[in-house]
Amino acid sequence: MTIPDTTTVSVENVSKWFGQKVAVSEVTSVFGPGVTGLLGPNGAGKTTLLRMMTGLVRPSEGRITIEGIDPHDDYRALNAVGFVAEDEAVYKHLTARKFVRFNAVLAGVADPESDTERVIELVDLQGAADRPVGGFSKGMRQRTKVAAALVHRPRVLLLDEPLNGADPVQRSHLIDLFKTLGARGYTVIVSSHVLHEVERMADRIIAITDGRLAASGDVRSLRALMTDIPQTIRIDADKPRILAAALISTPYASGVKLENDTIHVEAADPAGLARAIAHLARQHGVIVRRIQPEDESLESVFSYLVHRR
């Protein structure tokens, strides 16, 4: 694999299994400055991949390097790394300020006090900095963890679901912060299972499901892949057979199935189908009780991406 000059994190044919369970399978990718979204449903392998990048977990096969150094074998690679773990774990007995300062000292920061103040301000925690982290809301803990990860000015920032628990204002603030860091040349790798969140901050998306790389590219190309997904719509009506027969003759439905008096329509043109349902129901005197899309979960999007590979 040719590694571009700007590469800071390199993942080469990496697999990880825990006993019989394969968590990550043959993933290869490189990361450089900017924000990369690691997108995938829960249990897809995002956390394991990020933990391998931090050196906390050793790959069963393959190699990961941070600026050319294996983080599992050489702790000096971690000079460049800031990490926010997915869980809420913090040292509850410490105040936010002491918690961040503790991380600064361990990272070898020359002036822990001033860098602590800098990042506390950056995540907007000045008002709560002297309160114990144990009493913080989930969102405040996340901001404290982000501050701790940033305190030594790492060139690579690994963020595992960093927006979990944050309220909309905090989310927006954190997203802006990550985008700014990416624009300044930091390598920011953010995992999330929420597509629209990743879309807002990432220049590039890597989609993972079942431990495998499902798709990779910029947001626009991944969106284009997803618009190809046929949508299935479920309709409950008082005369399902009549409505199903009427729908099958329209160009908006590419397939119609009747199961237990429920119609499942594969929509070729969802917007046109929505209009057609209303029109046909009125025309045939059918009362429509419910219309519900069946395939909007991220899991189904990923399943589609994997199966079309």
Partner: protein, 246 residues
């Protein structure tokens, strides 16, 4: 040097705070003071001072306190998912191992302070000898180092390190070490007891069988404790490097 001392001190202080601020710390203070409180209930002589110190404090309360503390030192970091704050840092893993071991030993000493000082004062008042507490203090340090050396790495890999430790104390040290020749040498509190017996001029008749086949000696006990500590640092470092912290 600063890149080692400052982070090492920060880890040590953080673990010390966490261990001493747990609710169980109060129970451990009471457990290690139980022998001194018992001494308040009868006429204390040099002999029964030594019997209670050995039988209750050195052989029971201190080992249990040490293994509970040592098991939680890195065990709590693992179960509470705070390990990344120590390991995703540009510091060598042996520094985490050394700081953890020191924090465990100092915590055991801290929670035992009340019991040691109280017993020391009572012993001095009853016997007129202000030096009765020294053997107890030296033995306490040796026992704290020994159990911390064994149970800091066990706490890192086993979720039930306290149960494992209790089984070890009850079955291995309590029963097997008493009946099988040679096994007593692996009993940590007995290693501390050899120093206590050496510095205190022997053990009272009622408890002298606790030494089993061991002979009193302070230098040997200190050497064994330090060897265990060195081995522990090696094993803990290896575990922190090789095991997945998923």
């Amino acid at each position: 040097m600063t890149r080692i001392v400052k982070p090492g001190a920060a880890i040590f202080i953080n673990i010390l705070r966490r261990l001493t601020q747990r609710r169980i710390a109060i129970l451990l203070v009471l457990a290690t003071a139980a022998h001194a409180l018992l001494m308040l209930t009868f006429d204390l002589t040099e002999r029964n001072f030594s019997e209670v110190t050995v039988g209750l404090f050195l052989a029971v309360a201190l080992p249990v306190t040490s293994l509970i503390t040592a098991g939680a030192t890195l065990g709590d970091e693992r179960t509470e998912n705070t390990m990344p704050y120590l390991l995703v840092k540009p510091i060598p893993r042996w520094l985490v191992a050394v700081s953890s071991l020191l924090a465990s030993v100092v915590t055991v000493m801290a929670v035992s302070t009340l019991g040691i000082l109280l017993a020391w004062w009572l012993g001095a008042r009853a016997t007129g000898d202000n030096g009765t507490g020294w053997p107890m203090l030296v033995a306490t340090v040796i026992i704290a180092v020994g159990y911390s050396a064994v149970f800091v790495p066990i706490g890192l890999i086993a979720r039930r390190s306290t149960l494992i430790g209790l089984a070890y104390i009850l079955i291995w040290e309590g029963i097997i070490a008493r009946v099988v020749d040679g096994v007593a040498a692996s009993s940590i509190w007995r290693i501390g007891l050899t120093a206590y017996a050496d510095l205190g001029g022997g053990l009272p008749r009622d408890v002298d069988d606790l030494l089993a086949t061991l002979t009193p000696g302070t230098g040997g006990a200190i050497t064994k404790a330090l060897s265990l500590a060195a081995l522990s640092i090696g094993v803990t470092t290896w575990l922190l490097r090789k095991r997945d912290m998923a």
